[in-house]
Symmetry: C2
Subunit: 205 residues, 2 copies
DNA sequence: GTGTTATCTGAACAGCCGTTCATTTCAATC
DNA sequence: GATTGAAATGAACGGCTGTTCAGATAACAC
């Protein structure tokens, strides 16, 4: 993760003082600032100030600003896919859809900054980075589409257009990150329940 | 550099009474570029090049870059509210909801750039501009909320949480702009119909 | 102690940023 | 033809941009 070449000597990593802490802190600061102000509006010096180093030091951990953005987005989407792969499914398409709904809301509410970046900064990715990131996003989308298609085939759902339903449901669920606040009147569990109620009805189950 | 081959010619290539055309062209170019690359990533010189003038000339029409963004967003939201005010409603809450759904999709698909900006660049608004823009956005949101509340009161809808349903429906509908392409397999009418089908079911009607 | 090595500083680089303004251009009016 | 004035130019402004790099610093091994 630290961008160094092959780590041939496991003991060599203990030489510096802050190397193990600066890398993660850089990523955290960048994620927070990118989400808050947008990739293009954030300067390397702002990130460095947040980390507590000079701007030049950041380049011990990242190739460049663009690479930093791509890394953040890729890491987020890989986390997402891995977490969903580990998530227990319910029974049948209906159970799977409920699992997906509750998982999606929980996962996204836990990382609002990463979600924001992944959805808003696609246009700031260089073409060579965009392709890979977009493929990951598509893979996640397909997870839901497969559930809906299976439910449609099993006669559990009523969907005139499975593909459109996939996009509609994901947009609805992801929208939660734009308004949900921890201090609000609804708990995350309650929100997930309310969304599941709407999703279930929307797919005709 | 004006791009002309003859750089010894001191005379400007274009000039004269273009004032009535340059203003709108500036706004169109800015809208397209802001939507494509993001407000912070677009330079005044890029906009000027698109319009066909030098950067300095833009300031005959706008106070500054920030004012340009605020103007674009305010104009779009006022258009949105005015268009919805003129839109014929169907009968009762169900008819109103269908009218809103179809209107929202049609209106948003007709101006993808303006929509993109209005909902992605809120964070780039200076505080004094943000308040007014956010109020307009809220007013539109309330239009849907009122419909849902009326339908809930009339027993036509089944909504455990009207406020959340409002946000969920708007997110779902607005999401159409992220994937719809005119060259795709579905017409706008068909898409609106499919979304209406899901919305109707989601609200329990 | 010496030497090694990862880490960070601080200055520099070339270039772009939004914005201003004196000047130039030219259609419209007298 | 002369005058006017809106509209555009082109250069300039101070400041900020991402990135590089020689040199300082400090923790480790010996």
């Amino acid at each position: 993760m630290n961008g160094c070449s092959d780590n041939t000597d496991p003991m060599a990593r203990t030489s510096g003082s802050h190397s193990e802490i600066t890398g993660p802190r850089l990523r955290e600061a960048a994620q927070r600032l990118f989400a808050r102000h947008g990739y293009a509006a954030v300067t390397m010096r702002q990130i460095a100030a947040e980390v507590g180093v000079q701007a030049g030091a950041l380049y011990n951990y990242i190739p460049d600003k663009q690479g930093l953005l791509a890394d953040l987005m890729r890491a987020h989407l890989e986390d997402l896919l891995a977490a969903w792969a580990d998530e227990p499914r319910g029974e049948g398409p209906l159970g799977a859809l409920e699992a997906f709904t509750r998982f999606h809301i929980r996962f996204h509410l836990e990382r609002p900054d990463a979600v924001f970046i992944a959805y808003m900064e696609l246009r700031n990715l260089a073409p060579e980075n965009f392709a890979g990131i977009e493929a990951l996003r598509k893979r996640y989308e397909t997870e839901l589409e497969d559930i809906l298609r299976a439910g449609q085939a099993a006669g559990v759902f009523d969907l005139p257009d499975t593909k459109l339903a996939t996009l509609a449901v994901i947009a609805m669920l992801t929208g939660v990150t734009t308004w949900y606040r921890d201090a609000g009147r609804l708990s995350r569990e309650r929100v997930a329940g309310l969304y599941w109620d709407m999703v279930r009805k929307a797919v005709g189950a």
